[in-house]
Every structure is written in structure tokens, then in C-alpha cells.
Amino acid sequence: MAEELRFFLRTALFTILITTIYWLVSYEEAGTTLLIGIIGSAVFFVILIAVNVRAARRGGSKLNALLGFADTGPDSPLGLAEDVFPAPSATPLIASVAATLVGAGLIYGPWLWIPGVALSLAAAWSWLSEPGDTAKFTG
């Protein structure tokens, strides 16, 4: 079993224990709900990693192929050992300006959403279409 998987599995089990104790001593709803959220998050990661580890053992993951990730090496269950790296790009800066404009629009009025949404669309388009830059480990 991958160490990464064990990490989240232990987190989930420990939080289940704590949540049970907390509920039994306090019957307090807000905190218990939040703790259950932690359990859910940890279980999500357990499943995500388990699916990848299983797929790797069977020689390839459809999910990875779909997302464009390379497949798993022995030490890396998420399978990113080889990857294509993007070239320098102004897109992230534009996207963050877009997000800020949308946020500011919540305060100063929806007219700010017009440039905000326009920049978001432009950023999304260039994000998906920009060329990559490859670094690859061999050996």
C-alpha cells in the first residue's frame, strides 16, 4: 500500500475516533459537522489515490489518459513523473485580475463583472491553447 494512501487513511481513521468522542461528550452540532467534513475529505483522497494505485498495477489508468497525465511509476501513485511544462505566460496574471474584478463587482456593482467575465473567458481560452515546454526524466 502506498505511503500516501496510508497517510490519508490514518487521517480518516483518527478523525473518526475524535469525532465520535467529541459527539458523545458534547452533542455539539457545528463542530461535529465540520469534523465529519474532515473525514469526508480524507476519504476522498484515500479513494483518489487507491484508484490510481490500482490502475497503475493494471498497467494504465483511463482517468490519467483522459486528464493527460502520464502513468504511475513505482514511487508516485499520482503518476506525474513525466510531464509537459508550460512556457512563460501572462494568462495566470490575467485570470487573477479577472477574479479580482468579479470580487470587486460584488462590492461596487455588477458593471465590474463585464470586464471581469471577459478577461476570464480570454484567460480560459489561452490557458487551454498555450503550448508546452517539456522536461522529462529518463533513467
Partner: protein
């Protein structure tokens, strides 16, 4: 698989100058941007605290009025926690995690750039509150409802605070996912989880805390925004809401946040002590276990901030909080055993690490005091708590930050920092810090409450406050020495070479600064000290 040869298939052509920094997706340049911006917010937030100390130097209002004072401590806390400490973690992790795992970059470099720009713009939005007619947010960095509701805190400054923090929080979550994918998916051949540097192990736990806790903050902020602007009533008791719910949500995020800004610095100290003791870390697995335990406990201690509300289970949170001291103690003993029978040298990074050990020890011990509900009844919301948290966050996080700067700036810049000025910086900061914050313990015990612009004359608090203000001036001076040292060293500092400290981890196996995509070749990785192994077993066999 003893060695690995990365073959750079296509080199990146970064634009020169400012355009290069604006468009970079290189984790090292983004790391530097993060660190420089975080230090900028540290200086701004620090200046705010100097104004506060100036106001408190004597009873009465001399420097600022109450309205301004309330904005000062709110933005000081917000700036230090969200715009300095957390992003500094992101910066150091950005630069060093890919190097530590032997990867050419992070998993998602453009996402990485996005997280940086979201953080910068979010920070600007938070601070732009000062420019609005009603001023910046003025309810403390904890934003307790219903004080933070529109009825009691009208004005755009508060909404800017909320939106800005949502942007910064989103940035933290995305950054955490990115780095987690890097550590889990891009480790070099031979770099198993139990050969990762302790810094990177601590970052794993930190990232998990960020991924699990920041969404809670974002949700709470969104709910507050809805309350303020869209007629919601989540935290408004007159509409059936619950002010205590805000405290649950805030601290469910807020206490893990404290570990988010200290665990990576435990990691920094754990990198530095073995190098300058010329020994391996004592009890690597025990240390990892302690880190995991701190991370796991950190989600079940949040309501120790709420002992005096009368609506939480005090014994449960007291027990969990005290338990968290145990793995922290384990770390201390690991550090001591690492130094034991070593051959210690004390250049500036090691000096700051030693300062960290003593100062964090004091902060940790007073942490046990406030974990006891009866004692907390007495000292909660007094300067005792201010003293405690500054021993943890300044004595801990800030001292370790400077240890990290002196240790890693040679790698990031290729130039050594000046040792004489570094030592002057250390001693000034140690003296100034203790003068500023040690008297606060007594102020708190004497009954001086937090977040007040004024205190009564003839209350026995004047001398303590005067000493504290004098100390804050010395801290400011020490920071000036650091900036001067940085300026001079970047211009004229000695060349660092690949491995100036005879260190252990992979970042020292490449040039300073490392080339694009980091490594021309990697040494074989057979332990948690690959560079040490390569130095002491002759050239690599690959």
C-alpha cells in the same frame, strides 16, 4: 535506477526584465516573488504594530485615535497571518519542495503562477480598505460576528477585507493542491516518502491542513458577506442566527492555521540543525510521526479559543490541546539529541535556529497554561495571550523565517549573506523581541485586556508598556539591519557555490541559483541525506 538524467526537451525562453517576472511559470521565480511579497507585507504589518506600540507607550491617546487604532491591530493581525506567514510558507515550499523531491518544477506551473497573483491582488484588496471613507476593517483579525455585521461595522472596508481574504484563501487552497501533487507525483527515482527531507514532510502535513481548513474560512467569509449585503442572518441573533457559529467556523480554520504557519518552520529548523551539527537528524521516523500527530490533533482543539463563551465543552478541548504538547516535546528532544555529541558551528542560520528553540520553548510552555480552562478564564483576551502568541509566532515563525533566509538565500541568489551584519541582526532581534513581549505576560496577569488603545494611568502598567515600546523599536532596528545586509550582500556578497553549508538535501546538488528545470544530474538517492552520501562515499556510481 541509481541515477536519473533529466533531458530538457525544449528550453523555456523567458522574456527579460519585468515582463519575465509577470509571465514566469518557473517555480523558483514564483517562490522568490512569494517570499519578497510576503516580506513586504511583513514590513507593512510591522509598521502598523510600531504605531500601536507608540500609542501604548504611555496612558492616554497621543499618536492615533481609537478608530485608527482598531484598524491598526486588525490589519496587523490580518497582514501577518494571511499575507505574511501563510504566503511565506507557500514561497519557501514553492522554491524548495521541487528541489527536495528532485523534480524539474511543480505539477501545475501555470496554476502556481495563478496562486501567486491571486495572493498579491487579494492582499492589495484587503489593504485597500484603508483608502475607503470609513477606513479598513476594525474588528480584529478574528472578525467576530455580530461586530463584523453591517449593523455594527458598515462600510466598504469590511467588504474589501472579506473579498480580499477569499481571494487569498482560494490561492492557498490551489497552491496546496499543486504542491501536494508535486510531492506525491513527481519524486525522483529512489526518493521514497521516508527519504523526503523533514521540511517537505512538514509541508505535506501543512498542505493537508490548508486543504481541509481554508474551505471552512472561505465558507464563513461568504456567509458573512451574505449577511452584510444580501440580507442573510447566519450570525445575527435577531434573525435566528448564532454568533457562536462564527467562532466555531473561524477557529475550526484558525487553529489549524496556527499550525500551518509553524509546522513548515519546524521543518526549516530540522533542516538546519543537522547540517550545522554535522550529524543526521535523530529519530527521523519519530519526528515524522510527531508531525502527523500534531496535524491530526490540530483539528480537534479549535474551541480552546472559546473557553470563556460558556457554550463549548471545555474539558474536551483542554485535554486535546494539552495532548498536542507531547509531539511538540518529541520534536524538541529530537533537536537536542541531534546536537548531542555533534560538532556544532554557529553561522547566522544556526544562531536563528537556537533563538527559535529558546523562544518557542517559552511560547509552547505558556501554551499549556492557556490550555487550562480555569487559567484561561483569568488570562483570556488579556496581554498574556498576546505575549503567548507572539512567542509562538514571532519567537517561532519569524525567528525560523530568518533562519531560513540566511540558510537558503545563498541558494536562491548565489551570494552569501554578510555574517557580521547577520549576527548583529540576530542579537538585536533577540533582545528587542524579549523586551517587547516578555513584559506582556505581566501586563496580562495585571488585568490589561487586549485590543485597547488606552489603559488607565497609575495602574502599574506604565513601566511595562514603556519597556515594551522601547523593545519594539529595537526589533524595527534589527529588521533594518537585515534589509541593509540583504542589499549589500546581493550586490557584493561572496559567491555561494553549490553547497556552502556542507548540507544534506538535494537543493545543494545543483548550482546556486539552480538552472531552469533544476538539475543537470541527480546523485543517487539512498537515504534522507543524498548530498551527504555523495560527499562521503565518493563520486556517484552512475
Amino acid at each position: 535506477m541509481a541515477t536519473a538524467e533529466p533531458a530538457i526537451v525544449a528550453g523555456a525562453h523567458e522574456p527579460r526584465g519585468v515582463a519575465g517576472w509577470l509571465t514566469t511559470v518557473d517555480h523558483k521565480r514564483i517562490g522568490i516573488l512569494y517570499v519578497v511579497t510576503a516580506v513586504g507585507f511583513f514590513i507593512i504589518s510591522g509598521l502598523l504594530s510600531l504605531l500601536m506600540r507608540a500609542e501604548l507607550a504611555q496612558p492616554g491617546l497621543q499618536v492615533v485615535n481609537e478608530s485608527t487604532y482598531n484598524q491598526l491591530f486588525t490589519m496587523h493581525g490580518t497582514g501577518m497571518m494571511f499575507l505574511f506567514a501563510t504566503p511565506l510558507v507557500a514561497g519557501l515550499a514553492n522554491y524548495f519542495v521541487p528541489l527536495h523531491v528532485g523534480a524539474p518544477d511543480v505539477a501545475f506551473p501555470r496554476l502556481n503562477a495563478l496562486t501567486y497573483w491571486l495572493y498579491v491582488l487579494g492582499g492589495v484588496v484587503v489593504f485597500s480598505g484603508f483608502l475607503t471613507a470609513s477606513g479598513a476593517a476594525a474588528f480584529g483579525w478574528t472578525g467576530y460576528a455580530p461586530l463584523s455585521e453591517a449593523t455594527y461595522s458598515p462600510g466598504a472596508g469590511v467588504d474589501l477585507w472579506i473579498i480580499g481574504l477569499i481571494l487569498v484563501g482560494t490561492s492557498s487552497i490551489l497552491g496546496a493542491v499543486n504542491l501536494m501533487a508535486t510531492i506525491f507525483g513527481m519524486r525522483a527515482p529512489g526518493m521514497t516518502m521516508f527519504r523526503l527531507p523533514i521540511f517537505t514532510w512538514n509541508i505535506i502535513v501543512t498542505l493537508t491542513l490548508i486543504m481541509f481548513s481554508f474551505p471552512v474560512l472561505t465558507a464563513a467569509l461568504a456567509a458573512l458577506f451574505i449577511d452584510r449585503n444580501l440580507g442573510g442572518g447566519f450570525f445575527d441573533p435577531t434573525q435566528g442566527g448564532d454568533p457562536i457559529l462564527w467562532q466555531h467556523l473561524f477557529w475550526f480554520f484558525g487553529h489549524p492555521e496556527v499550525y500551518i504557519v509553524i509546522l513548515p518552520f519546524f521543518g526549516v529548523i530540522t533542516e538546519i540543525i543537522p547540517v550545522f551539527s554535522r550529524k543526521p537528524l535523530f529519530g527521523y521516523r519519530g519526528f515524522v510521526f510527531a508531525t502527523l500527530l500534531i496535524g491530526a490533533y490540530s483539528f480537534s482543539v479549535w474551541a480552546h479559543h472559546m473557553f470563556t463563551t460558556g457554550s463549548v465543552n471545555n474539558p474536551f478541548f483542554s485535554a486535546m490541546t494539552m495532548l498536542i504538547a507531547v509531539p511538540t516535546g518529541v520534536k524538541f528532544f529530537s533537536w537536542i539529541a541531534t546536537m548531542w555529541r555533534g560538532k556544532l558551528t554557529f553561522p547566522t542560520p544556526m544562531l536563528f535556529a537556537m533563538g527559535f528553540l529558546f523562544m518557542f520553548l517559552i511560547g509552547g510552555i505558556t501554551g499549556i497554561f492557556v490550555a487550562s480552562p480555569p487559567i484561561d478564564y483569568a488570562v483570556h483576551d488579556t496581554y498574556y495571550v498576546v505575549a503567548h502568541m507572539h512567542y509562538v509566532l514571532f519567537g517561532g515563525t519569524v525567528f525560523a523565517s530568518f533562519a531560513a533566509f540566511y540558510y537558503w538565500i545563498p541558494k536562491m541568489s548565489g551570494r552569501m549573506m554578510g555574517e557580521r551584519l547577520g549576527k548583529l541582526h540576530f542579537w538585536l532581534m533577540l533582545i528587542g523581541f524579549n523586551l517587547t513581549f516578555f513584559p506582556m505576560h505581566q501586563m496580562g496577569l495585571n488585568g490589561m485586556q487586549r485590543r485597547v488603545a488606552d489603559y488607565p494611568a497609575e495602574s502599574g502598567l506604565e513601566v511595562l508598556n514603556a519597556v515594551s515600546t522601547a523593545g519594539s523599536g529595537i526589533v524595527a532596528l534589527s529588521i533594518a539591519v537585515f534589509l541593509f545586509n540583504l542589499f549589500v550582500s546581493m550586490k557584493r556578497g561572496a559567491s555561494a557555490g553549490d553547497d556552502p553549508w556542507q548540507a544534506n538535501t538535494l537543493e545543494w546538488a545543483t548550482s546556486s541559483p539552480p538552472p531552469h528545470h533544476n538539475f543537470k544530474r541527480l546523485p543517487p538517492i539512498r537515504s534522507e541525506r543524498p548530498v551527504f552520501d555523495a560527499r562521503h562515499t565518493g563520486p556517484a556510481d552512475g
